[in-house]
């Protein structure tokens, strides 16, 4: 199967292509340097061409997402679209059904999405859902931050065992990377408590969040995993938490990266860049966070932009969700994953005239606009915490047009003028910077830049074409055209196959599931397993043999090898 895309205005920042008319040749699902005369031709006609979108942080599958669906039948009713000959039915807005997840991402030209948190014990559920999400490639980050074995090995300062546990945990969960949510807090939530800073001691384990984060970063780099540690900071959702965020970012200096990428990715910074001491003097400290990122190259972040209207907050951060449910007088779903973590789900409605929401809206945009290098600040809405992913085009339009931002600011609570910097920020991003925040940057942060997020020879043929001609449009003024073009791709191509044409799904292939198989020396694993076996015997409610996700659950696996390469002995 050969395909050639002609006359596209290509934005491929990785390969230095900046709107030039370049032909893209595709053969057998990969980008090649040329194809034969028999190749099918797609005439882009001067329209915008980018690599398929890559999302590094979105809650698309697993136990929490499903709790959200169960809790919110009213949300399910809001996005119904009946089945067609090609597609199965769509339902939901903030917590769509599995099919709509894949279709809606593809319709925006996204082809790769990573689920941001799965507990090892719940991984089977995550993979059952990932298997049913059509079209897109996906993977899931595995939670390690409050796991008992993690905290035991951290206290014992046994890095070999910790690395072996991380490798085994990724295998057990068929996970892609290390997620760490409110380290230590998930465990303390089991006793109705929380940690309040990096130096609090977690009772019964005698470790601090700081030690957990540093040790996991070291283990991550010992194993040479493609992605870095993916951190949801302590104190999320509390005014004044930017200090904790900055202190967490500084921890990255203690560890050296094993690859050409960051050592720490700090996620959904909209919820972590808060100043003030209470809800009364709550203010944006996005400038401090962006300033840190500008001066350091070992940390990256993502926006977690807030979107007006309905959202469903869901996180492994159990205590913050209890606080939210109390504050909002809202429905509350709480979960406990035995020895591993907690979780919580709370619906929320973001309102323009509520000062806190208006300030949070501003924080996300400030983070993106004040961080100079777009490779360091990815575009996300922390779906569905800040808002559903279908609003990415809205965020793109806001970032590209100061006019749109100023129009929006006029409709917001006045606090946006006093406690944020957004009204005075004039920066407007260009197509290349947007391509980095949604493709190249995300792929680089995930460690997948060789095949994803770019259009170089050998990359996966995941390509999106949007119905705008970059040389004929002024995105700063015609922001509504930008939004509608990014909402419905003219073409989305996945592995060389056209999956979307004119915003409509045309075929629904099954994507791959990425997971990482990291090698550790045999004897480290067997030492570590002695502890794990004891944990199962004494504490877990299930048997070790039932704990591992089998290959049957991952039918289209893409295994990435990592770890120290073993020495072959003849």
């Amino acid at each position: 199967m050969e395909l050639i895309i002609k006359n596209g205005a290509v934005y491929d920042p990785v390969n230095g292509i900046n709107g030039d008319k370049t032909d893209i040749s595709i053969k057998d699902g990969k980008i090649v340097d040329k194809v034969s005369g028999k190749a099918t031709v797609i005439d882009a006609g001067g329209r915008l061409v980018m690599a398929g979108g890559v999302d590094a942080h979105s809650h698309i599958a697993g136990a929490k997402v499903n709790v959200g669906r169960i809790m919110r039948p009213e949300d399910t009713r809001s996005g119904i679209k009946p089945r067609t000959k090609i597609t199965r039915p769509y339902t939901g807005y903030t917590v769509p059904n599995v099919y709509a997840m894949g279709y809606r991402y593809a319709q925006m030209g996204y082809t790769t999405v990573f689920e941001a948190a799965q507990a090892i014990m719940k991984a089977r559920h995550t993979h059952e859902e990932l298997e049913e999400i059509p079209i897109i490639d996906k993977g899931a980050l595995t939670l390690f931050g409050s796991n008992w074995p993690t905290m035991d090995f951290v206290r014992e300062k046994d890095m070999d065992k910790l690395a072996a546990y991380v490798a085994w945990g990724l295998l057990a969960s068929r996970g892609f990377g290390v997620k760490c949510v409110n380290p230590g807090g998930g465990e303390m939530w089991g006793f109705g408590k929380n940690v309040s800073g990096l130096d609090d001691v977690v009772p019964n384990f005698d470790v601090t969040p700081k030690e957990i984060i540093v040790s996991l970063m070291k283990a991550n780099e010992m194993l040479g995993l493609p992605h870095s540690v993916h951190l949801h900071c302590n104190n999320l959702g509390k005014p004044g938490n930017y200090k904790t965020t900055l202190a967490s970012m500084e921890l990255a200096n203690q560890v050296k990266a094993s690859k050409d990428r960051q050592v720490l990715h700090v996620t959904h910074l909209t919820f972590n860049s808060w100043g003030g001491t209470n809800w009364g003097d709550f203010e944006s400290k996005a400038d401090e966070v962006a300033n840190y990122l500008n001066n350091n190259s070992n940390v990256t972040g993502d926006m977690g932009q807030l979107i007006w209207g309905s959202a469903t907050t869901m996180t492994a951060d159990g205590p913050v969700q209890y606080a939210n449910a109390k504050l909002l007088h809202a429905k509350w779903g709480n979960g406990d994953v035995e020895l591993e973590d907690a979780s919580g789900v709370v619906p929320i409605f973001y309102v323009k005239q509520i000062s806190i929401h208006a300030i949070m809206w501003a924080i996300g945009l400030e983070l993106a606009l004040l961080t100079k290098d777009p490779y360091k600040m990815l575009l996300t809405t922390d779906h569905p915490n800040g808002g559903p992913f279908v609003n990415y085009p809205e965020v793109i339009a806001l970032l590209m047009s100061n006019k749109k931002r100023q129009e929006e600011i006029k409709t917001l609570h006045e606090a946006v003028h006093k406690r944020t910097m957004i009204p005075g920020i004039e920066r407007e991003l260009d197509f290349s910077e947007i391509a980095i925040m949604t493709r190249a940057g995300t792929a680089k942060v995930l460690g997948l830049l060789d095949t994803k997020g770019n259009l170089g020879i050998g990359a996966d043929a995941d390509i999106s074409i949007y119905d705008i001609k970059p040389d004929q449009i002024d995105p700063t003024v015609e922001h509504s055209k930008i939004k509608s073009a990014f909402s419905s791709a003219a073409y989305a191509i996945k592995d060389g196959q056209v999956v979307v044409k004119d915003g409509q799904i045309t075929s629904t292939p099954q994507g791959r599931t990425y997971w990482v198989d990291a090698y550790v020396p045999e004897q480290d694993t067997s030492e570590m397993m002695k502890d794990i076996v004891k944990k199962f015997k004494n504490y877990y409610s299930m048997q070790l043999a039932n704990y591992m996700v089998q290959d049957e659950y991952v039918t289209h696996a893409q295994v990435i090898k990592a770890g120290a390469i073993p020495v072959e002995v003849n």
């Binding site: 039948p73 009213e74 949300d75 399910t76 007088h329 429905k331 619906p347």
Partner: protein, 252 residues
């Protein structure tokens, strides 16, 4: 003025989804156009013309459109869904979800209405001369805001959960109601002329006035003393105190 008269062609055993019966959908349409509007019988797609005999007189915008329904509509759901103006008069019984999400206009039922009548309605008026089923003026499953505005009057009785999650508007029941009227209320006003039991649980705002007997009170209300409302002395309660509520409950 446009008048549309609808009569069932035959007895309906399987429920019919007829959200297209609404002045907004009928306004300015000819008999043929109305007959070809979509309806569902169970899982089978059909048209209104297949199920009902439809006669149209005149042509007018929705505000001047009157729908007269004669016969048994007790298996016909979602009549007047989302209507914004106009008039619907039903001489007979209707099935669930009558006038749901309506924001204006007037629906009058000369018989009974099944459950979820006036759910999540925003405005307009709904009069049920017979009895109403469960969840009158409530929010559907998962919804945190039920009726938000408008007025519902029931001349007969209503079953359980009248005005659950209500956020605004007014419900008047002349007869008795089942248990837990005004459950999780967040605004609006409910008046019950007859008897009921366990009113106002979990309410955070809103007003409930009961003129009949209350079989059982939830132990989550604080007695504030007596108060005169229109010449009648009521015991005034506030609550639900567990939910830190500021709701008002008046009991004779």
């Amino acid at each position: 003025m446009q008048t549309v008269t609808i009569k069932p062609k035959k007895e309906m055993k399987i429920s019919v989804e007829a959200e297209n019966i609404s002045p907004d959908k009928f306004a300015g349409k000819t008999e043929k156009e109305i007959q070809s509007l979509e309806a569902w019988v169970g899982n089978q797609k059909t048209t209104l013309g297949e199920l009902f005999s439809i006669a149209v007189e005149g042509s007018a915008p929705a505000a001047d459109t009157k729908i007269i329904m004669e016969g048994d509509f007790s298996r016909v759901k979602r009549i007047g869904e989302g209507m914004t103006s106009g008039l619907v008069i039903i001489y007979g019984n209707v099935d669930m979800h009558l006038g749901n999400k309506m924001s204006g206009g007037n629906i009058s039922v000369k018989g009974n209405a099944d459950s979820w009548a006036g759910r999540e309605m925003k405005g307009g008026e709904l009069i049920i001369e017979g009895n109403a089923g469960y969840y009158l003026g409530s929010g559907y499953r998962g919804e945190t805001c039920g009726m938000r505005g408008g007025k519902i009057t029931v001349l007969g009785n209503a079953l359980d959960f009248v005005g659950e999650h209500m956020c605004g508007g007014e419900i008047i029941v002349k007869g008795n109601t089942g248990i837990l009227p005004g459950l999780s209320n967040n605004g609006g006003k409910i008046v019950i002329e007859g008897n009921t039991s366990r009113p106002g649980s979990e309410m955070s705002k809103g007003t409930i006035i009961i003129n009949g007997t209350v079989d059982e009170m939830m132990p989550v209300f604080k007695l504030e003393g007596n108060e005169d409302l229109g010449g009648v002395t009521y015991k005034k309660y506030t609550g639900d105190v567990i939910a830190n509520g500021k709701g008002l409950l008046y009991v004779r």
